[in-house]
């Protein structure tokens, strides 16, 4: 059975990867401190913090809940700003990368999209940190570059895949190419494009949270801080907040999707 052969081949390459990385299963066992840390950390999962764990909190700190809300809010702000900007940039790029655009334009735009996508958003963040310093607009920009590229790539494929009958019919009825695009082709691809953009928003939220590890005031920043102070119950609070938001977003997007497609 061909499927089985493919499966075995993939597993063999997986074994090669294991050997090439010089891994041993002993590396999986917790380090001496790590075992206790793991137990303590897992134990904390059942009692997430509702207030600062350390009693000695400077008096000028905001209440814990305020802190949580603010961290979450900034995570959402960066993600939403990045996706909004990515749509503004990604849509025209996607149009220019689709087969509607003339050959030389299409090829060069596709090359540009590939470059934007080939560097991870966190690496863009590192470069921008080095280039201009810590700046929240820089964080949004770091998310936007690869996200705009990805949206453009997928949008162009969706436009190429959309059924072209109405698009052609409108051109045959004397509409210009651009008119026919907006009236005949775009509406057919739009539900898929919107659903995909929403999915990318979900991804952006996770990326935005991780940006905190690089000094931006999102969830990752507080999570790292709490973990380094061994405040595991606070870490779990942050994890739960992130998980709940992601789950809510998934539920929202699937509810939207049902109405779009139906």
């Amino acid at each position: 059975m061909r499927q089985g052969l493919v499966l075995i081949a993939l597993l063999v390459v997986g074994m090669i990867a294991y050997l090439a990385l010089d891994l041993d299963l002993g590396g999986l066992s917790p380090t001496r401190g790590g075992g206790d840390l793991l137990l303590e950390f897992l134990g904390a999962a059942f009692k997430p913090a509702f207030d600062y764990e350390s009693g000695a909190v400077p008096t000028d700190w905001n209440p814990f809940f305020y802190q949580v809300f603010a961290g979450l809010w900034r995570t959402v702000v960066f993600a939403a700003a990045a996706i909004g900007l990515s749509l503004v940039i990604g849509f025209p790029l996607g149009l220019l990368a689709s087969s509607l655009a003339p050959m030389p334009v299409r090829v060069s735009v596709r090359a540009m999209i590939a470059l934007m996508r080939s560097v991870h958003e966190l690496l863009w963040a590192v470069v921008l940190l080095a280039a201009v310093g810590l700046n929240t607009a820089g964080a949004v920009l770091a998310l936007t570059i690869p996200y705009a590229g990805t949206l453009a790539k997928i949008f162009s494929e969706m436009l190429d895949e959309a059924p072209p009958q109405a698009f052609r019919a409108l051109q045959l009825a004397g509409a210009t190419r651009l008119q026919a695009f907006f009236a005949g082709l775009l509406p057919r691809a739009a539900p898929d494009m919107a659903a995909y953009a929403f999915y990318r928003f979900e991804c952006a939220l996770r990326s935005s949270a991780v940006l905190g590890f690089f000094g931006y005031p999102t969830i990752g920043y507080y999570l790292k801080l709490s973990f380094e102070n061994l405040h595991f119950r606070e870490v779990w609070t942050w994890l739960y907040v992130l998980i709940i938001v992601v789950i809510l977003l998934e539920a929202w997007s699937s509810a939207l999707r049902r109405r779009f497609v139906a």
Binding site: A173, A175, Q179
Partner: protein
């Protein structure tokens, strides 16, 4: 008042690569005529209609709409668009946008008369007079109450009427329809063709339809053009087309 168009098709041939699709077709279609192209599948009916709509151009020969040739303007965008806009075309697969409302689909038929931005505005929310115009057109076709429904919620016959409405909204000077009743049951097919006849007659438009069903063509159309393997077999008033001719038209090559 829209002046109905006249077609002059003069010794038109077209081939795709090695295979000849149409050879040496000559036809004249006058205002107010209703013509049915009949013949077996692969006879070139659809291609001939597409030539008349200016979506493909002949290898040789000329197609003239009121003395103007499509081929002459084929590389002049705006003039070609203006000529194409004079031809209303109802596609076999309707070619509607299923996830838009009826009104938006119909309005998009009139884009040739509008600039880019006003077309876009019409698409998002057509202005009231425009809506009224669409409504009276749909009323005439018997689906007025569907104006704000999404197209994919309509039945096949209703979608066909929306496609017809869009072609009429274009204010064409001739109405072409490619196998308009291929996916409708016989009773509804007849009703639809009668409706097409009626609206074409009200506007004094020539009506040219390709039909697989020759009996239906003989019953409803004034003139029949029999096509077989890219050639005209006969071009007669419908009442002079007898069963013998039809049998010859549809006969299998080796029979």
């Amino acid at each position: 008042m829209i002046v109905p168009a006249q077609y002059r098709i003069d010794r038109v041939s077209l081939s795709y690569g090695e295979t000849s699709v149409l050879s040496d077709i000559s036809l004249a279609i006058e205002a107010e005529q209703s013509v049915a192209f009949v013949g077996p599948s692969g006879a070139g009916k659809t291609t001939l209609l597409r030539l008349m709509a200016g979506s493909v151009f002949p290898d040789s020969g000329t197609i003239e709409l009121d003395g103007r040739s499509f081929a002459a303007v084929c590389d002049r965008g705006s003039e070609l668009r203006r000529m194409r806009a004079e031809v209303g075309f109802v596609h076999q697969d309707y070619a509607l946008v299923p996830n838009l409302r009826v009104v938006q689909n119909v309005v998009s038929g009139g884009f040739s008369r509008r600039g880019f931005w006003s077309a876009l505005a019409d698409l998002v929310m057509p202005k009231r007079p425009l809506q009224q115009e669409v409504l009276s057109l749909l009323d005439r076709l018997g689906i007025g109450e569907k104006i704000f429904q999404r197209v994919d919620t309509l039945s096949g016959g209703q979608q066909q009427r929306v496609a017809l409405a869009r072609a009429l909204f274009q204010q064409p000077r001739v109405l072409l329809a490619d196998e308009p009743v291929s996916s409708v049951d016989p009773t509804r097919a007849r009703a639809l063709l009668e409706l097409m006849h009626a609206v074409a007659a009200e506007r004094e438009l020539p009506l040219v339809v390709s039909l697989h069903d020759a009996e239906l063509a003989r019953a409803l159309f004034g003139r029949m053009v029999g096509l077989r393997e890219g050639r005209i077999e006969f071009d007669l008033p419908a009442d002079q087309v007898d069963s013998e001719r039809l049998q010859a038209l549809y006969a299998l090559p080796n029979a």
